[in-house]
């Protein structure tokens, strides 16, 4: 006997989607209509929550949220690094519309700059303190971003995606095989950030990940404020116009190449900062930290969250990094779920692309662009 699977009635499906959309829009509308102090209070509460989160006295009451298979504080540090990077990549992909497939390469440049200049196992033995190297690391990643962007950003289309992909692989292979970058053996004894408690113990130690997490969280807030101001300025308008229609942007007098390069370089700088923070916490950097997959994950996180929207990028980066760790230590039918984490991740992404291609929390403009493009496709059919 054969059973025919009825395709879901498109009208019904549309109706369900419509109701979902209305629900979300109602929430968004209420948020916009809420008085200023309510919004500030909610924002403050969220920030306080995330500062409190890595304390055991707090997270033990949060039910299933803490990760069973890994130290939750460590996980939160990883998550915060991903969020910082998602905010940075969002400038490149979300605002300027440049597809960067090798964003983690810049993270590696930042981390290795710190490693080479501070670690006693480095060939050049400069042994600089961590804090001094951070600006150097950021500057170097920016320079590498400009070097990579100058030839490629003049071109349109997919060249940038390919070149950035190649760049990330180049960095990884250089890390694996060059003697200067120490390959698998890596760099050890990378100094931590400075600072001591009154009793003489260092704030940034080996065991407790909380100070690092708080440091990254604070930097995320600083970076987000900076990025927000930037997007509300002429620079931000130029980026958005380039993303929406590069020819038209140029016809309005926007120096497109310059602004693309700026977006690319500022995105790179944020990844460099993240890399420097990572190296300062980890104490050890080797070639295994920089797999290509990381670049893909971070890009997927931005798109998942809603590219072009800072909140979307934060939520996307946080959720994706957290979910991957959350699978650790869960067994189902004798299978270790962590091994299959990317299968779930892939399924979620495919589902997203079908039902909500603009991401969880899309940018208002971005959503309109998607509608516009869909209209074009329909006309083309």
């Amino acid at each position: 006997m054969t059973t025919t699977v009825k395709p879901p009635n498109p009208e019904q499906r549309e109706a369900v989607m419509d109701r979902l959309r209305h629900g979300r829009e109602a929430v968004a509308q209420r948020w916009r209509d809420a008085p200023r102090w309510v919004r500030w209070a909610v924002l403050a509460a969220v920030i306080v929550f995330f500062y409190a989160l890595p304390n055991k006295e707090f997270y033990q009451y949060l039910g299933p949220i803490p990760t069973p298979g890994a130290n939750f504080t460590q996980v939160m540090f990883t998550v915060s690094i991903y969020v910082l990077m998602a905010v940075g990549l969002n400038i490149v992909v979300g605002f300027a519309g440049l597809l960067d497939l090798g964003y983690f390469g810049f993270f590696a440049v930042g981390a290795y700059t710190v490693a080479v200049l501070t670690s006693p196992s480095s060939n050049i033995k400069t042994l600089w303190p961590w804090l001094l190297v951070v600006p150097v690391a950021i500057a170097l990643t920016m320079v590498s971003g400009v070097m990579l962007g100058t030839p490629t950003l003049r071109l349109r289309g997919d060249y940038l995606a390919l070149v950035t992909l190649g760049f990330a692989e180049m960095i990884r292979i250089a890390a694996v095989s060059s003697d200067f970058l120490k390959g698998q053996r890596g760099f050890n004894q990378i100094p931590h950030p400075p600072g001591k408690y009154t009793d003489g113990k260092p704030i940034f130690g080996v065991l407790d990940a909380r100070p690092y997490y708080w440091l990254v969280l604070t930097l995320i807030i600083v970076v987000v404020i900076g990025v927000r101001n930037l997007t509300h300025s002429r620079v931000g308008r130029a980026w958005i116009s380039i993303r929406e229609d590069e020819d038209a942007a140029q016809l309005m007098g926007v120096p497109t190449f310059k602004f693309k390069l700026w977006a690319f370089a500022s995105g790179a700088a944020i990844a460099g900062l993240a890399g420097a923070l990572f190296a300062g916490k980890q104490n050890f950097v080797n070639s295994q930290n920089f797999e290509l997959l990381n670049s893909i994950i971070i890009l997927a996180a931005v798109i998942f969250g809603g590219s072009g929207n800072i909140v979307g990028a934060i939520v996307g980066g946080g959720l994706v990094a957290y979910m991957i760790e959350r699978f650790r230590g869960i067994e189902l039918f004798g299978l270790e779920l962590y091994e299959y984490r990317f299968l779930f991740f892939g399924l979620v992404l495919v589902g997203m692309m079908i039902f909500r291609p603009q991401g969880l929390i899309p940018n208002r403009r971005r959503a309109a662009e998607f509608k516009d493009r869909r209209k074009e496709v329909i006309v083309g059919e």
Partner: protein, 236 residues
């Protein structure tokens, strides 16, 4: 001469799209460029606005050689193009689109004044000021593209097919507006497939065929030229 194009050729890869085009636009004129699909009208526009580099020849604007000048700097010199068809920013609202038109300008008072003027010229845009550009109808998008170009307060306005895809009534309306803009003091170079309207409104016109200029004259002359009539006006 406000704009002088001298023997300009342009290549798309190995295909030569323009074969030594020369034309001029004088201050205060409406000049039309007519021709069939693929004759090179839009390509000529791209060469003038700087979106495509030319292979050879010279472009002079306001006495300055701009052949090698970047497109965004040409806008600052007072040369602005309203791109063909859907060249607006779909995710930005009408107001944000118009605001982008004034991107190169710093004089807030002047911009506000021009915004009022555009809203007067296109009352439809005023009604939809908060609406996303991509949700406008084809005709409204066309008006938005023209209005946005006006916001840069150009010396020379380049219009690429402003009547494309519009209903006959709207075509009348947009040409009326073009004449009005011209009478207010903006020089206009116009690319059109709608030869009838374009020739009727233009002071002078050029006919483009497969990348070459084959005829030129005043609008009235060409309107009564037998070969133009046959090829572009649909009357034998």
């Amino acid at each position: 001469m406000l704009l002088e194009i001298d023997d300009v050729s342009l290549l798309y890869g190995r295909i030569q799209a323009l074969h030594g085009i020369s034309l001029t636009v004088d201050e205060g004129e409406i000049v039309a460029l007519i021709g069939a699909n693929g004759a090179g009208k839009s390509t000529t526009m791209r060469a003038i606005s700087g979106i495509r580099p030319v292979a050879s020849g010279r472009i002079r604007f306001n006495g300055e050689d701009i052949t090698k000048l970047r497109a965004d700097l040409r806008v600052r010199r007072g040369l602005c193009q309203a791109p063909e068809g859907r060249g607006i920013f779909p995710g930005m609202t009408v107001l944000e689109n118009l605001d982008m038109g004034a991107y190169t300008r710093r004089d807030r008072a002047g911009v506000a004044q021009d915004l009022n003027r555009v809203m007067e010229l296109f009352p439809r845009l005023a009604e939809r000021r908060k609406q996303a550009g991509g949700t406008l109808s084809g005709g409204e998008q066309q008006m938005l593209a023209v209005g946005r170009a006006l916001m840069s307060r150009p010396k020379l306005l380049l219009l690429d097919e402003p009547s494309m895809g519009l209903a006959p009534m709207l075509i009348q309306q947009i040409f009326n507006i073009i004449t009005e803009i011209n009478e207010q003091g903006t020089t206009i170079l116009l690319v059109e497939q709608n030869a009838q309207q374009a020739l009727a409104r233009a002071h002078r016109a050029y006919v483009l065929e497969t990348g070459r200029i084959v005829k030129s004259g005043t609008g009235a002359e060409l309107l009564h030229d037998p070969s133009v009539k046959e090829a572009y006006l649909g009357v034998a």
